[in-house]
Symmetry: none
Subunit: 206 residues, 4 copies
C-alpha cells in the first residue's frame, strides 16, 4: 500500500503525456482538414496510436475541441503576459500576424481560430467554452489597460478601458481574417497601420 502512490503518479504522468500527444495531433489535423473534415482515424494516425485508444483519454471528438479551446486561452493569456514585459505591442501583433499568415504550426492557426468561433454558433458546449474563455481573456486585457504604467500597465482611464479593449480585439481578430483573405498583405503594411493607429488605443490620455 505504501507503494501505491508512485505507480499512480507515473501512470497519471503518462496519461497526461498521452492527452498532450492527442491534442497536438488533433490540432494539426484540425488545421489541415478542418474540425469536421478531420477524422478520428486521422488524428490517431498523426498521434501514432490506434483510434480506439483516443477514447481512453477523451470522451469524444467534441471533448478534444473543448480541450483545445482551453489550450488556446492559456496561450493567449501567456501572450498577453509577455506583452506586459516587452510593451512593444506593434511588434508583438505584427509577429502574430506573420505567424498566422505563414500558418506557423507552433501557434493556434488563424483558420482554426475562425472555425472554432463559427462552431460556437452551433454547439452549445463549444459556445460555453468559447464565451468563458473570451471573458477571461478580456478581463486580462482590461486589467493590463487599467493598471498604472508604473505597475506595468497602460494607465488607460477607467471609463475608456472597455472601448479600447474592444477596439484592440477587433483589430487583432480582424488581422486573423486578413492573414487568410489577403495573402499578399505584407507585414510592413501591417506595422505601418499599427504604428499609425495603435497609439490612440494605448495612450493614457482620453
Amino acid at each position: 500500500m505504501s507503494t501505491a502512490g508512485k505507480p499512480t503518479a507515473k501512470a497519471e504522468a503518462r496519461a497526461q503525456a498521452q492527452r498532450e500527444r492527442i491534442l497536438v495531433a488533433a490540432q494539426k489535423c484540425f488545421v489541415v482538414h478542418g474540425f469536421h473534415a478531420a477524422s478520428m482515424a486521422n488524428i490517431a494516425d498523426t498521434a501514432g496510436m490506434s483510434a480506439g485508444l483516443i477514447y481512453r483519454y477523451f470522451k469524444g471528438k467534441n471533448d478534444i475541441i473543448l480541450a483545445i479551446i482551453e489550450r488556446q486561452l492559456e496561450e493567449a493569456r501567456a501572450d498577453v503576459a509577455k506583452l506586459h514585459a516587452t510593451s512593444d505591442l506593434v511588434a508583438g501583433i505584427a509577429e502574430v500576424f506573420q505567424q498566422w499568415q505563414a500558418n506557423d504550426p507552433n501557434i493556434t492557426s488563424a483558420a482554426l481560430f475562425l472555425e472554432l468561433t463559427a462552431e460556437a454558433t452551433r454547439d452549445p458546449e463549444i459556445a460555453a467554452a468559447t464565451h468563458a474563455s473570451d471573458k477571461v481573456f478580456r478581463a486580462d486585457l482590461a486589467a493590463w489597460f487599467e493598471r498604472s504604467s508604473k505597475d506595468g500597465g497602460l494607465g488607460v482611464p477607467k471609463q475608456e478601458v472597455d472601448t479600447r479593449v474592444l477596439m484592440l480585439q477587433c483589430l487583432i481578430e480582424g488581422l486573423a481574417m486578413r492573414a487568410i483573405s489577403q495573402p499578399d498583405l505584407s507585414v510592413a503594411q501591417v506595422k505601418t497601420a499599427l504604428e499609425r493607429f495603435l497609439p490612440s488605443l494605448l495612450s493614457a490620455q482620453v
Copy 2:
C-alpha cells in the same frame, strides 16, 4: 432547329432561376447548420426540390459554396455602395454588427463568413474565390476612400488609403468575431467605440 434558339433562352433563364433558388436555400442551411453539417438533402428540402436535381445545376457541394462566395461579394459591394449614400458609417457598421449578433438570416451570417474564410485555408478553389473576391472589395473601398468628397468619396490622402482600408476591414471583420464570442456586447458599446475611433480612419487629414 429554327426554333432551337427561343426555348434555349427560356431554358437558360429557368436554369438561372433554379440556381438562385438552390443558392438561397443553401445559404439558409449553411447559416443554420454550418457548411459541413448541412446536408444536400437539407438544402434540397429547403429549396423545395429533389436532391438529385441539384446536381443538374451544380457539380457538387463545393460548387455551391463557390457560388455563395461570389454572392457574398456582390452583397458586400452593394453594402459599400449603400454606405456611400448614407455616409453614416458608424450607424451602418453598428447595424451590421447587430444583425450578426442576432444571426439575422437575411444577411451573410458571421459564422458562415468565418467558416468560409477558414475553408479558404484548405480548398484551393475556395481560396482563389475568396482572394479574388476580397481584392475586388478592397478596391471598391479604396476607391471610395480616395475619391474626393464632392464625388461622394472621403478624400483620404492617397498614401494613407491602403492603411486606412486595412484598419477598417480589421475593425469590421473583428466585429464579426466579437458578435459571436462576446454575446453580451451591446450595440451601444460598439457605437461608442466606433464614434471614438472611426473618424480618424475616415478623416481627409493625415
Copy 3:
C-alpha cells in the same frame, strides 16, 4: 396535379414492400444470430440491399424490432382466431410446439420470442411494445374464454377467466422454452400432457 395521387400510391406500395422485405430479412437474421449479434450489414445482405437503404424505411435497429413485435402480435391474434374455428386447442398448441422445436422459419421462432421478452427488461421502448402487445393478446384470449359456446367461445365462468388465461399462457410460453431446452421432448408427450390437463382449463364448469 391530377396525376399526383397515382405515383404516390405506387411509391407507397413499393415502400411497404421494402419494409416487408427488410422485416422478413431481419427476422431471419435475428433468429439465426440473435438480436444483438445480427448486424445491419447482415440484414441488408439477407434483404438483398445496401445497409444504408434500410434507414430510409426504419429509423434504426430498434425500430425494426418494434415492427417485428407488432407483426408477432398480429400473427398471434390470427392464431387465436383460427383456434376459435377449429376449437381443437390440443392439436393447435402441439403444432406450434412442433414448429418451435423444428425452428420453422415461417413462424416466430421460440428463441426470438424469448430474446424479445428478455430485451423488454432493458429497453423501455421494447418494454412498452411488449406489454401493450401482451395486453391486447390477453384480452383476445379472455374474450374467447368468456364468450358463450354458441358464440364460438368457451363459456368459462367470468370469475375464472383471468386465472384460466394465465395458466394457458404459462403453458404455451413454457412450451416455447421446453422446445429449446428439451430437444428430445416428443410431440406425442406434449399431446398426452395437453389432453390430460388442458380440459380443466377450458371447461365451462368451475
Copy 4:
C-alpha cells in the same frame, strides 16, 4: 520441490475463489445489462479486478456464460431440494415469481434465464450445457414426484411422472415470461391460479 504441493493447493483454492468472484460479478452484470450488452470491463469493475485478469481464469466471455449455466443448475437443484422440505409448492413458486417480477438480483433473473435459453439456439456449447443441465434438473424433479410420500416424495404414479413434470416446468417457466410481459400481474392472482391447478399435478391419484 518438496514445498511445491502446498503452495499449489493454496493457489488452486485462490483460483477457485477468483473464479467465483468473477462469476458473481458477471451474473450481476448480465442481469442488469443483458449478456451481450454487458462488457468485460463492466464485469471486471464489478468484480473489483482488472479486465485482463479475467482471462487468466476464463477463456473468454463465452466461457463465463457456460460456467454461469452450471451455477444456475446448482441453484435450481437446491431450490428443488428446498421444496421437498417445505412441500408448500404454491408458496414456493409464488415467491420465485415475485422475485422474478421484482428483478431480485439474488436469484437468476427471468430475463437472463430467457436470454440464455435463446442463446442455446445458436451456440452449440451453450446448447450442450443447457440441455445437460435441464436433463439433470428434470431427473431431480421426476425422482421427487415418483418417490413415495413417506420418503419425502409425492408418490405420483410412475406412468404419470413425465407428463406431470413437463406440465410443472411449463408452468414455472411460463411464469418467468409472465413476470416480464405482464408487469401488473399480482402475486395474489398467481397464487389463486396455482392453488386452483397445481394440486392436479401433484396429486398421488391418476
